[in-house]
Symmetry: C2
Amino acid sequence: MTTTKAEQTRARIVDAALRLFRSSGYDRTTMRSIASEAGVSLGNAYYYFGSKEHLVQAFYDQIQDEHAAAVTGVLDAERGFGARLEAVLLAWLDVAEPHHEFAGQFFRNAADPRSPLSPFSPESAPARETSIALFARLVDGSDAKPLAALKPELPRLLWLLQMGVVLFWVYDDSPGQQRSRQLVTGIVPVVDRLVKLSRLPVVRGLVDDVVGLLQTVRS
Amino acid sequence: MTTTKAEQTRARIVDAALRLFRSSGYDRTTMRSIASEAGVSLGNAYYYFGSKEHLVQAFYDQIQDEHAAAVTGVLDAERGFGARLEAVLLAWLDVAEPHHEFAGQFFRNAADPRSPLSPFSPESAPARETSIALFARLVDGSDAKPLAALKPELPRLLWLLQMGVVLFWVYDDSPGQQRSRQLVTGIVPVVDRLVKLSRLPVVRGLVDDVVGLLQTVRS
DNA sequence: TGGCCGACTTGAACGCGTTCAAGGTGCCGC
DNA sequence: GCGGCACCTTGAACGCGTTCAAGTCGGCCA
């Protein structure tokens, strides 16, 4: 029996939090209501989770798992780089769509440089690396032939692109976030052609500069 | 005498807020301390400013004014597109540097899609357009010869680049934010060459696509 | 002058996230 | 059985941003 009492309590709190986040949004869900819904005291919730933000990490992880599961099929079947990229980015929009309002509400917290929820924070490094690994798989299994200098950086660049899409999506108030979908279907061919162009002599120097800049600028 | 009593009160509150934001940071400055420092009641501060965030708008405006003042000299003297762009971006870093910690603290609020402080919000449209106008001046007075299709979009794209630099800067914990400076000095030649390349036949189609995408995606 | 009205001002009160001193609870060695 | 200890649980209390009913003030009209 690996589910000790503590783990059960912890799980009850997470479950209550996710349920309430979904039904009432991030702001309207109070730590008191989470504790109450979980059948524990307020202080107890803080014994397991240092802050309200820490409870959102569970949400994060859940979406990431759903996203990974949603794209395995395509990544096994499709070889075209553009098609793979579009599938991965659109799948994220599909997975995230039910939580758009919620995401907008806690995005402010995720954007805080000091927040553990920030996509650039040390605490979110595992999730970040998992996500970058997904893009590495996307590239490796594709027919893309990027410039050698670009190849090792491409997964991280695509992850950055994904962060850009997320940023746009958070601000996207169009119905069903269709503008975000247009952004994805529009930007994928551009990226596709950029990767192809990267081998062109005139462009090659530019790519080297960008790759060098990336390395300079990374701590 | 245009300074009615109300305007004086308003000014006293803003002054107190900016003073305290500077000396103690955003989080540690409470609305109570601002009201107290300004010699008014707590409720009175809320009579003039709907929220703590609204008080930050004054900060925003001040930095923007300083930035505009800092670049007029260079924009009058220098004609090279790259040099102009680098000067404008670096000048922003200079102006903003003393407020780096403060900026990190309230960035979370600015990142909230619903916040009036968001750079994409309707409320900040005037400041945004002023900033884009600065980049239009940068382009117009320069020796850059971008593709015709690109030209009208270039100021807005440069503004986006500036937002990207700001984003990087907020997360930049290197001493003196030197990595942000490296980012600027590294990215400017890339942008410079991209603008030149935009006239190249192979690239031209790409530019058209990006421009079209920008228009599609804008509401 | 008196009365009114809109602009301005007040501070108590609310609900929130978070902290913490105090107390339970169960298990281990003796 | 018993003391001790680590783990777990509690809810009152704190400080915060924000709201609001209740004022005060100043000028203008009758």
